[in-house]
């Protein structure tokens, strides 16, 4: 070995879940108690779809552990003034004093009431990371559960800059919090900006590499030639925010330029609502007695309820039916002999004008290309073919369509998600082998069992936990500041709903709550962990200012950063290689994590905690003790807040609720429960076993990758293509809001269309300059962003090795400009350029490339740090400071998109 031989060498198994594409498994080489190297966990190669490996980010964990800039002692602020220009005056304090200060605030809140005058929780918490911080925060979720109402809706990007529209609509249509192709068997993939080779993680990258060699043809449709485009068979440089037009044209080709028989007619008739009759008011025609939606039975030559056995429903046509049409709030709009058009028929009409010739000038992609791609998609779909999976025969449709960020969020996100799902449904490729699959559920329950979340609901569809919009149950008194329950029916009301609401609204409304909502207040105490909204959200200057006005911030701090710059208390927790936690792995999970195993993996201390860093579990337990919440805290752990319920049929490893347990005791109990769960009670191995083995799994059926069998078993249909329920909900929501005089959400209400039309989405962004009283032509460029695998999920910005290796990937370190555009503007490679929006500007070095549209600029990642050590010296621009938080650019689900119109000018040379 290059290193001097150590006295002792250990290899410690742990997991990496730094990004949502994980978790993945690794080993840490520890020489004489010092972590020196990260390696794959080769013992996991047989069960991990990424061969037991971890990506580049995990190799930064050694430097992360020994980063000299780590906060290694609790700190308190001595300068009462907060702001970017204020030195916090952090001084080290003891843990005892830190707990005293935090508990004092918490106890005062408990005494005065957990909700403030506006009805919002006085305690707020922001975690960022798309849920991944939960795999690092030990039993802190149990503390929050014990506390009571907590506002987790001050976002750092989640719910807005994430796959947001896809999260909500995906879960509605096919239990798809995120969507993945069935990569191992897919043959043809249309990827609208899905940047798998940057963000797909270890498993995504491996699956796609295997698929490429096998012959998967991916067409990457994206304004710039991303690392994913580089690894694709074809790159189509589409104009930003026009993806819906491309998808609509694709549907047009399937419907109007090919024989009807080329589509998967049996699937459409039996597994979708295509045959449902739609009345003249836009609602389903329903059986007057049972209120079930009607179809026209070709055999009986009459309208019958959709679930009539042996019916052969017509896919197209206009029919007369004895029916009732029910509108919003249960109002009977019409009854009697009513004319209904099939939903499929309405789709045909809706798509008639959306030809490739229509889409071409919108998308800036030739019509012939759009047509060719559509016909290739159809040809590759293998309609009618089957495959056997674990003894069951399923349809085989090896084509898929995926959407990336900026496509599946913000205005146009609904249209893209809808069109994508309709397109794959037309060939029967939804939730079947080879096709387009959901990965997991976060809104539907249970979260650990996607297949189990398929339950019969109304009208032959799956249930969905909509927030109610009927008069009796809707409320303009939201439970938290981003008002998701009030404004976004699709956001449901589960543990994840807060972060899936319009999280930028909480920030915006602090300085002016619109009519009808209780005034948005500052939380009295804000917990912040693995989250840096002052860098990662929009309008970063405004966010920084607002954070400065939070009265008391408790930041679990790895290093100083731009958000904890305004904190009152910094608490150093045991970071990745020092802490202890057990998490679930396997099954199916976001991005491309499709396993044939499921189980648990341990994160265990590879090294002793540095400085005074403490394990998050111990911090949570102590906070519980000092705030009189020990019993409900332990009860929450017993119930499963630490990842596995400690008691079930046949075993009981419950903790004594009256005691303050150490982290080893708590996680030993969780490990025993995990062992018992996986072996149906046969095993009860605890922490020592997991420390030695690292993980434990059992078989997970690959049949559960696909939702189709569950729908067939339960006789259910996919709620497509016609969005009658969403249309109704939109009408009801509108009535509720208008009853309160709330008209500021009307633009968003307009999105609730049963068949969404194309809107000029780019124009919505183009008008921002006009709104500011300026000339749109002065902001001629689209500014987009893209993922960096090396930096993703933020905390890696201060890690030297990440910075060093990322410099090998084009674009890190500046703003990517089309070479011809740069030449036209007199900009040379490396020149200093200024990128501006109305009222805001940033600067960076020009990186000239051919692989980007001439009208588009690209800033990779999220930088412009000014406090994070090491990163603050990068001088790399970020788009976040340029993008305003705007209601105008917020869609119905409360999401936005990382997109803005900018100007570009040279301001200096290379030096």
């Amino acid at each position: 070995m290059t290193r001097r031989e150590p006295t002792t060498r250990r290899r410690v198994a742990t997991y990496c879940y730094q990004c949502v594409a994980g978790p993945d498994l690794l080993t840490v080489q520890v020489d004489d108690g010092v972590a020196v190297a990260i390696e794959p966990n080769f013992c996991a190669a047989g069960i991990h779809p990424g061969a037991g490996k971890v990506c580049v980010k995990a190799y930064g964990l050694v430097q992360k552990t020994y980063n000299p800039h780590r906060v290694l002692s609790p700190m308190k602020r001595t300068n009462p003034l907060k702001g970017r220009d204020q030195d916090p005056g952090f001084v080290p304090i003891s843990w005892d004093e830190a707990f005293d200060l935090v508990a004092e605030k918490l106890n005062a809140i408990r005494k005065s009431g957990l909700l403030d005058a506006s009805g919002y929780p006085k305690v707020a918490a922001s975690f960022g990371g798309g849920g991944t911080p939960q795999s690092y925060m030990g039993t802190f979720p149990a503390y929050l559960a014990a506390w009571g109402p907590v506002d987790m809706g001050f976002g750092s990007g989640q719910g807005v800059k994430c796959y947001h529209s896809e999260h909500l609509y995906g879960e509605l249509w096919h239990r798809a919090f995120t969507v993945s192709p069935d990569t191992p068997s897919c043959r043809y993939l249309l990827s609208f900006g899905t940047n798998t080779e940057a963000s797909g993680g270890v498993v995504g990258v491996r699956r796609h590499a295997d698929a490429r060699v096998r012959g998967l043809r991916r067409v990457q449709i994206e304004p710039h030639l991303s690392v994913t485009g580089a690894c694709s068979a074809e790159w189509l440089p589409i104009r930003p925010k026009t993806d819906a037009a491309f998808l609509y044209a694709l549907i047009h080709v399937l419907l109007h330029e090919n024989a009807r028989s080329a589509l998967d007619l049996p699937f459409l008739k039996a597994r979708t609502a295509s045959p449902y009759l739609v009345g003249r008011h836009g609602y389903y025609l329903r059986d007057p007695a049972s209120r079930r939606p009607l179809v026209w039975d070709v055999k009986r030559q009459s309208a019958v309820p959709h679930d009539t056995p042996d019916a052969d429903p017509a896919l197209e046509g206009e029919f007369l039916a004895d029916a009732i049409e029910i509108g919003p709030d249960g109002e009977a709009l019409e009854r009697g002999s009513l004319t209904g058009t099939t939903a499929f028929g309405k789709l045909l009409e809706h798509m008639r004008r959306c030809t490739p010739e229509w889409a071409a000038p919108i998308c800036d992609v030739p019509a012939a290309t759009i047509r060719r791609v559509a016909n290739e998609f159809l040809a590759q779909a293998c309609v009618g073919e089957t495959v056997e999976i674990e003894g069951e025969t399923l349809p085989f449709r090896p084509v898929a369509i995926t959407l990336g960020k900026t496509v599946n969020n913000g205005w146009g996100g609904y249209e893209c998600c809808w069109a994508r799902t309709v397109a794959v449904a037309l060939v029967g490729g939804l939730e079947v082998p080879g096709g387009t699959l959901g990965t997991t559920v976060r809104l539907n329950r249970p979260m650990s069992d996607r297949t189990g979340s398929v339950k019969p609901g109304a009208d032959g569809f799956m249930t969905y936990p909509f927030n109610p919009t009927d008069k009796e149950h809707w409320s303009a008194r939201p439970n938290i500041r981003n008002a998701y329950r009030t404004l976004v029916p699709l956001a449901a009301n589960g543990p994840w709903s807060q972060a899936l609401g319009p999280t930028h609204l909480a920030w915006m409304f602090l300085d002016g709550t619109p009519k009808g909502l209780p005034g948005v207040t500052f939380p009295e105490l804000w917990f912040l962990y693995r989250s840096n909204p002052a860098i990662s959200f929009w309008d970063t200057a405004a966010i920084t200012d607002k954070i400065s006005r939070f009265p008391f911030i408790v930041a679990f701090a790895y290093t100083r950063d731009e958000s904890n710059h305004m904190a009152d208390i910094l608490l150093p927790e045991c970071t990745d290689l020092e802490g202890l936690q057990l998490i679930r792995i396997g099954g199916t999970k976001y991005v491309e994590q499709f396993w044939d195993q499921e189980g648990f993996a341990l994160r265990q201390p590879a090294v002793d905690a540095r400085g005074s860093a403490r394990d998050f579990t111990d911090i949570a337990t102590e906070l519980a003790r000092r705030t009189g919440l020990l019993e409900p805290y332990n009860a929450a752990i017993n119930k499963g807040a630490a990842g596995a319920p400690l008691k079930a049929d046949g075993y009981d490893f419950s903790l004594d609720v009256t005691k303050a347990h150490g982290r080893e005791g708590i996680w030993d109990a969780v490990c025993r429960a995990a062992s018992a769960e996986l072996t149906d009670g046969a095993a009860s191995d605890g922490l020592d076993w997991y420390k030695a083995h690292g993980f434990r799994t059992r078989r997970f059926s690959t049949l559960d990758w696909y939702l189709y069998p569950a729908l067939v078993r339960q006789g259910l249909r996919f709620e497509l293509p016609y969005q009658e329920r969403l249309f109704r909900i939109g009408q009801e929501l509108g009535r509720r809001l208008h009853d309160q005089g709330m008209t500021w959400w009307d633009e968003q209400l307009a999105e609730y269309q049963a068949l969404p039309p194309w809107r000029d989405f780019p124009a919505l962004w183009e008008k921002a300059a006009a709104d500011a009283g300026l000339n749109s032509a002065d902001f001629p460029f689209w500014l987009v962003t893209a993922r960096s695998m090396q930096y993703a999920w933020g905390a890696n910005a201060g890690i030297q090795i990440m910075h060093e290796v990322a410099e090998n990937v084009a674009g890190h370190g500046g703003v990517i400009v089309n070479a011809a555009t740069a030449a036209r503007l007199g900009i040379a490679d490396g020149d200093l350029v200024e990128i501006s929006t109305p009222g805001r500007a940033t600067r960076g070095r020009a990186v000239l490339r051919q692989g980007i549209r001439p009208d588009t600029l690209l800033m990779i990642g999220q930088f412009e740090h000014w406090a994070t050590p090491y990163a603050k010296n990068f001088n790399v621009p970020s788009m976040n400071g340029l993008v305003p938080m705007s209601l105008d650019l917020t869609d119905a689900t409360g999401s936005g998109a990382d997109l803005v119109r900018v100007s570009l000018a040279r301001v200096g040379g290379r030096e």
Binding site: A35, A51, V54, T65, E197, A209, G851
Partner: protein, 213 residues
């Protein structure tokens, strides 16, 4: 006769630099020294553009130009093909760095660390003053290969005997093995796929084979 070689499957490489980082960590190289790294190459003109990622490093050439110019005999070639540098013999003249057509060699004159002039605990464990002011490069993780073969393990198959970059590659793009063994993993890959070697026309006989097409 064993002849170690690497196969790089360009159909798989995604340019993630995981191998770059894994190599740095396994070999404790200082900031800026990348014995293995991945080039990000773009050709064509918008919109007809191609972008490709190319892992590079020492090719452990059959006829290494670095060895011919070395005045101190520090650079040598083993029978199994691995080109080695004896740091104790190297005088740091840098001729080899100029001679190498693959930009594979590095020289660091002063100790440097990730976060300034003091090593972290981890860097301290790997610091080797004998590697200052001398040429360094990819060794095909020769220590792992030798220790592994001594235990009867197969480099390229058994991870403990395999170069760190190959172990780390998340796309499965890197392979290592005995190219003189027709039944080896690398031999099968080369025989079964279109491939090329870099700067072959220079007559260096590089032992990194790139799969393409």
């Amino acid at each position: 006769m064993t002849r170690w070689a690497m196969v790089v499957d360009l159909r798989r490489c995604v340019g993630c630099q995981t191998c770059t980082a894994a190599c740095k960590q396994a070999n404790a190289t200082p900031p800026g020294v990348q014995w293995r790294r991945v080039l990000d190459m773009e050709v064509g003109e918008y919109p007809e553009v191609q972008r490709t990622f190319v892992p590079v490093g020492c090719m452990h050439c059959d006829d290494p130009p670095c060895m011919h110019v070395c005045p101190s005999t520090a650079t040598r070639k083993r029978e199994d093909g691995i080109v080695t540098i004896d740091y104790d013999l190297c005088i740091g003249c840098g001729y080899c760095m100029v001679a190498c057509p693959y930009q594979a060699r590095f020289k660091t004159d002063r100790a440097s660390f990730a976060y300034g002039d003091r090593p972290t605990d981890a860097e301290d464990k790997g610091f080797d003053g004998g590697r200052l002011a001398v040429a360094t490069k990819c060794t095909f993780c020769v220590d792992r290969v030798d220790a592994g073969t001594a235990q009867g393990l197969t480099p390229g198959i058994d991870p403990e005997a395999t170069p760190a970059c190959v172990n780390s590659c998340i796309a499965g793009a890197l392979h290592f093995g005995d190219i003189d063994n027709p039944a080896s993993n690398v031999s099968h890959l080369v025989a079964g796929n279109t491939h090329f070697r870099m700067h072959e026309e220079l007559g260096t006989g590089p032992r990194m084979y790139y799969l393409w097409g």
